[in-house]
Symmetry: D2
Subunit: 139 residues, 4 copies
């Protein structure tokens, strides 16, 4: 892994004042960390567009477990794709509603297909796939 280096950015002072205010609002310890986050953000976005590298992802599902044999169907669909599902976690939101989180790792296409399938399952109220990075190559 590379060493830390320092470079200069020139900027209008009004713009910098506004950025500093936003950094404070978002609890950044300093300006550099905020800029590193912006940079890592566009790199991760690019990584996701390009494909080719494994992605990490989180699938969030909200459903009513009383719904017919939904729990069973979700379980079976997940086992069919056990190789890209690292782990899952389940929260009982109330008497009816469950929130389930799946941590996924694999090719972007495979992950998206699995997410589509689980979200499409009858009884799932809301589903969202959040793509992130495996962190490899992102310093």
């Amino acid at each position: 892994m590379g060493k830390t280096i320092r470079f200069g950015v020139s900027l209008n002072s009004d713009l910098l004042d506004q950025f500093d205010a936003l950094c404070e609002e978002k609890s950044y310890p300093n300006r550099s960390e905020a800029i590193r986050d912006l940079i890592r953000g566009v790199l991760v976005e690019r990584e996701q567009q390009l494909g080719g590298k494994d992605l990490a992802a989180v699938l969030t599902l909200v459903y009513d477990h009383h719904f017919s044999d939904l729990t069973q169907r979700l379980m079976e669909a997940q086992h069919d794709s056990h190789d890209v599902i690292l782990t899952t976690m389940h929260v009982h939101l109330d008497h009816h509603n469950c929130l389930e989180v799946l941590i996924l790792k694999g090719a972007g296409d495979t992950i998206k297909r699995l997410a589509d399938k689980l979200i499409a399952t009858k009884g799932v109220k809301h589903g969202k796939l959040t793509l992130t990075t495996t962190g490899q190559g992102i310093a």
Copy 2:
């Protein structure tokens, strides 16, 4: 909770053919479930814009646990907000990289502030807040 009712939608047959193809591609069991998902999607989005109701949310963090006292700092920041963090799950992606998922429930503003703070922590490579619904009122 209301009973199931049925209503008619009129549509150009070309549009319907394309929609049916997309439903099949996304593994929907039938057209009604796909339309229910579209409807629930805009309702959940609206719920998030309006505020006022508790939201459920998932925060995804990727970080290098070798980074100075990062684990400790994340732990402390989380305990300061333990009332909106239902649970967390941690995956060791490789020797360096961790993926941590926090399930949150509470007022939208509180959740966003906490997410901002954790994402801004030095050493966190990537963070994303995914807003979803508690499922209450979404049939």
Copy 3:
């Protein structure tokens, strides 16, 4: 173009009540039009992901025309891509700020590359590419 047909959707009445309220809030003349819009929305999104078909797009740029030779540089970059730029429109927002809109039509990749280039031009304060559809094949 296909003829209009009618099909039934079954739905929980609570969900339908909420959807009707949202349709009214968004000024939809009726439920069918709102559902057609949801369906066209996902089809257009899919069209953009798949590539292969020409897209229509709108590029929005905000810049300060006092900035060195910015107007000249934007003009030249646009002429280099005149084949995908159908037309442009310019508004003088105030003494300094201009809003320029370019209507683009062509392959997704070409459009994105041109947008990247214009947004990256020094002096452009904000730029956003909005992908839409040529309307062909969307009934």
Copy 4:
């Protein structure tokens, strides 16, 4: 307007190499301009979330002008809101399809309501509201 100042950012050299590659791919003249764009991007986003300031915005509509009295209805709805519509531009995409762009300026809520209404009009195939900035206060 403030003067140009220069500040240092410290960064891992691997991260910087990747960022430089992305800057080149996106045609940035130099690293500073790319970072200024990232900073302006989050400031404009924040401006839109906060409300209170006038926004500039572009509404993109695609529709079939053969559709009943659509042109007339769009025209009337626009005149009802002429105070926030600075100008409009129209492109004949093909024999059927039109692309119309409206440049809007005003309070965020007013703009969104007008966009909702025009997008909801029967016969509009696709509509998208793109929020940007009036450029005031963004250096």
